[in-house]
Amino acid sequence: MALNELTLAEARDKLQSREIKASELTEACLGAIEAANPSLNAFLVITAEKARAAAQDADKRLGAKSGKMRALDGIPLGIKDLFCTKDVRTTAGSHILGNFEPAYESTVTQNLWDAGAIMLGKLNMDEFAMGSSNETSYFGPCVNPWRTRESDEKLVPGGSSGGSASAVAAGLCFGATASDTGGSIRQPAAFTGTVGIKPTYGRCSRWGMVAFASSLDQAGPITRSVRDAAILLEVMASHDPKDSTSMDAPLPNLEQALGSSLKGLRVGIPKEYRVEGMSAEIDALWMKGIDIFKQAGAKIVEVSLPHTKAALPAYYIVAPAEASSNLARYDGVRYGIRANGRDIVDMYEETRAEGFGAEVKRRILIGTYVLSAGYYDAYYLKAQKVRTLIKRDFDEAFEKVDVLLTPTTPTPAFALGSKGGVDPIAMYLNDIFTVTVNMAGLPGLSVPAGFSSEGLPLGLQIIGKPFDEARVLRAGQAIEDAAGRMPIPKPWWLDNASASKQAKVKEAKAVEAKLSPVKSASKKPSSRKKPNASS
């Protein structure tokens, strides 16, 4: 097995036993990125030189006899492009931030570097995390490494954390940071056969994360195993004085908790999640999950969450309202791009027209409308009241059960360009099973549990009580144990890579022939939008 295909836990253990070096892991990932990125478009920035330097430092530390190995010493990771990374371009997938280079590091990423992790680069995402397919990115869509058995058609990796999910699924990094406002960690994890957990609201600091909807946004990891998610989350989470909503709640040892018993665990099955028109294979997957827990000695309890159906419409009032306010800061004055205008207001309007994409504009307008005079009570206040009811449903359910089991998404990954073109709501419906969890601030985990009839990964979701990530992950481990870990899909992108290499050689030869006798073919044939090589 290639080094980059190890799980994070396996890589860590091999580093600890000095079987491998951090620099070997890093080179394996950089090589895999180089081969895959032209096809997958997962990385927007590749920080190869920084990564190599950090790997050398890690190897020095690991080489020293004394000293304790840090939690993520020498582990190469990818970072979603909405985490501010000092002096490395951060765009949140938007044009409006231009070549913004933060002067500071987000708390979540700082926690990772303090634990010894290595940054490989910044990952593609839907613009400002608004999307469920990674197609709203200014930098072009990211592609799912999975394809159906029958077709070469390109599929979306889900969104908004599409780059994170695609990179982890394809073995380009050992794990990635991601963020989840309505399903943006869990839905792409389900689409790519990876594990993704959105922790309890307040578990991870939001400081230095580009804001979308502040009462819903939460950071979390995407990984190739439940154990990896536990390891990464434990480092990402912290109580941070710089984020007044980050909670000072004790975090148990999540990795250790994976070994605890499931006997007597009460698993709730919310009947409202059996939605109209749900496909038979999603239903069968859910039944499979129920069986797994029965076999493990858990107790299955049917529960009711009566306001499930209201969560998505309420979300599409609350989230755009918060977004319209958060995105007011992009005005062409302090950072990002600026367009010319007759006067200052015209400059603002031109800058924002040029800098924001269609989906972001749509949500800013919805948000502005529902907050505007005369409509606030009818929309925003109403949605907040419904949010109370959604949370109350969960509170009542959790009096009877310890965790809830649901499908993560109503469908497997779909083809690029196939959804949401004319009807934005069709795209929004992707988050029907995940958005409730954000509205109530609960932890939610997606774990791969099987395949669709066409050979695409499908995920199950475990929802837990506030701050009960340990139990959520433990339950997820049971699914992984029974269903088996997802393999890395067949790397079809290697064919593309070798084809384009051959084309490049041909072209270079042609250029050389033309330029002859001038000995130079250093001008590379330009491919489409290349990632920034910053370091």
Binding site: S215, A310, P313, R352, I364, Y369, A383, K385
Partner: protein, 98 residues
């Protein structure tokens, strides 16, 4: 909230409030999309909420406070670094006062 039917003039007014320049063509398609979304969220009307308190935050309603003290500074260059137009540590904007 009743069935929303916002017109093109409203779309333009909202866009101006949001400081977004939109063309008449954009206003037309946005009118259709926004009406679609607003009519969809109107589903919430069916839910009785008269005696329900709005949920304004997931955590404790009262946020933690910290002493009001200076924790950093002397970073003017870092603050100006990403600005599109500056002069002598000032952000430049189009003339505001005649």
């Amino acid at each position: 909230m009743t069935k929303a039917q916002i017109d093109e003039a409203t779309v333009k007014r909202i866009a101006h409030l949001a400081r977004l320049k939109i063309s008449s063509q954009e206003a037309q398609s946005l009118k259709r999309e926004l009406n679609g979304i607003l009519n969809w969220v109107a589903e919430l009307n069916a839910i009785p909420t008269d005696d329900v308190e709005p949920l304004t935050s997931i955590g404790p309603a009262k946020l933690r406070q910290r002493p009001d003290e200076v924790t950093d500074g002397d970073c003017v260059a870092a603050i100006m670094k990403n600005a599109p137009k500056t002069e002598d540590h000032f952000f430049l904007v189009p003339k505001v006062i005649e």
